[in-house]
Symmetry: C2
Subunit: 195 residues, 2 copies
């Protein structure tokens, strides 16, 4: 985990530990449901260091964690879309991967952004904006791949928005049901419907 017991104190590693712990907890229980003490405990990093690394407190921490999670997933989406087989096969593969991840985590790890996005949409502009930017980066990744495969710009953008909507909704429904049927339904309907 985090404790590297070399006499040297951690420094930058603490910052990273806070970020990782925050990302996990936000994903599972959201923003308001996650306490700073829980973050500190899970990170293993010293409590006194929290406000050194994140002077902006909980909000800054959440923002940084969301950007980190968002960037990771953005890269994963991009890599999947660029695999051979075209965007259509890639989207199906993405759905399979998400279903496997969700099921494998005991239905705890859905979208890392969605919960916070909904909670803070009307409560915190900075967090809302962060969530919106992350979503947009994912849409852009999908739209780019669609465009590369021959779609024109506006159509690709619209299709990307549609696909991400279906995925996000299916993750939500699957989590609530503890059953990947919604993700599978989206997979099969997209298979039929997508050109």
């Amino acid at each position: 985990m985090a404790e590297r017991t070399s006499t040297r104190s951690n420094g930058r590693a603490s910052r990273r530990a806070f970020l990782d712990a925050t990302a996990v907890l936000l994903r599972r229980q959201g923003y308001a449901g996650t306490g700073l003490s829980e973050i500190v405990a899970r990170s293993g990093a010293p409590r006194g260091s929290l406000y050194f690394h994140f002077p902006g407190g909980k909000q800054e921490l959440a923002r940084a964690a969301m950007e980190r999670s968002g960037e990771q997933l953005r890269r994963a989406i991009g890599a999947t879309m660029d695999a051979p087989g075209g965007p259509r096969a890639a989207i199906l593969a993405l759905l399979d991967a998400l279903a496997a991840g969700l099921e494998g985590s005991g239905y705890r790890d859905g979208c890392p952004i969605a919960t916070v996005a909904l909670e803070t949409a009307a409560e915190s502009e900075p967090l809302r904006e962060t969530a919106a930017a992350v979503f947009e980066s994912w849409v852009d990744e999908l739209a780019r791949a669609l465009q590369d495969s021959g779609m024109e710009r506006a159509g690709a953008q619209r299709r990307a928005l549609f696909v991400l909507s279906a995925i996000e909704g299916a993750l939500l429904l699957s989590r609530a049901r503890r059953d990947v049927a919604p993700l599978r339904a989206v997979r099969e309907e997209l298979l039929l419907g997508l050109g």
Copy 2:
């Protein structure tokens, strides 16, 4: 509904006020982000009555409020689907109505269940189950209409799951962006793709 035994104003009215206030607040800020004191303040009902009407506390209150919101929306979905024009036109009308409602509320009123569903999926079994049941009631309403229009059972169920997924995801993305483009994209893509 409730026994309307011509008694005086108070009593049952407090219970209703708590429920309404809770429904609004859960929809806008989620479960963990909503305090009992805020609920009491908004309801206008006496603080001392809360645990009389809801001995189970916050959780029971949330559950009852979710069931209420869920049932209201279920009826609205059913009414829309039963309007002349068939399920295809009805789904488009539903999307229009949701977009108008979201925009008209300053992007505060999205899905009344989604936020709590995500927050509590791994934290509270009773609330998770409640959310799942509400979602299922909406899916059933959609599937029934699809079946009435000639689809066979399994296909209608799958299509209903897909449509609700797309709607929920679009509500999420639209709220985060403060822009109904995702809802519109879903509307147009469904228009093209749906039989």
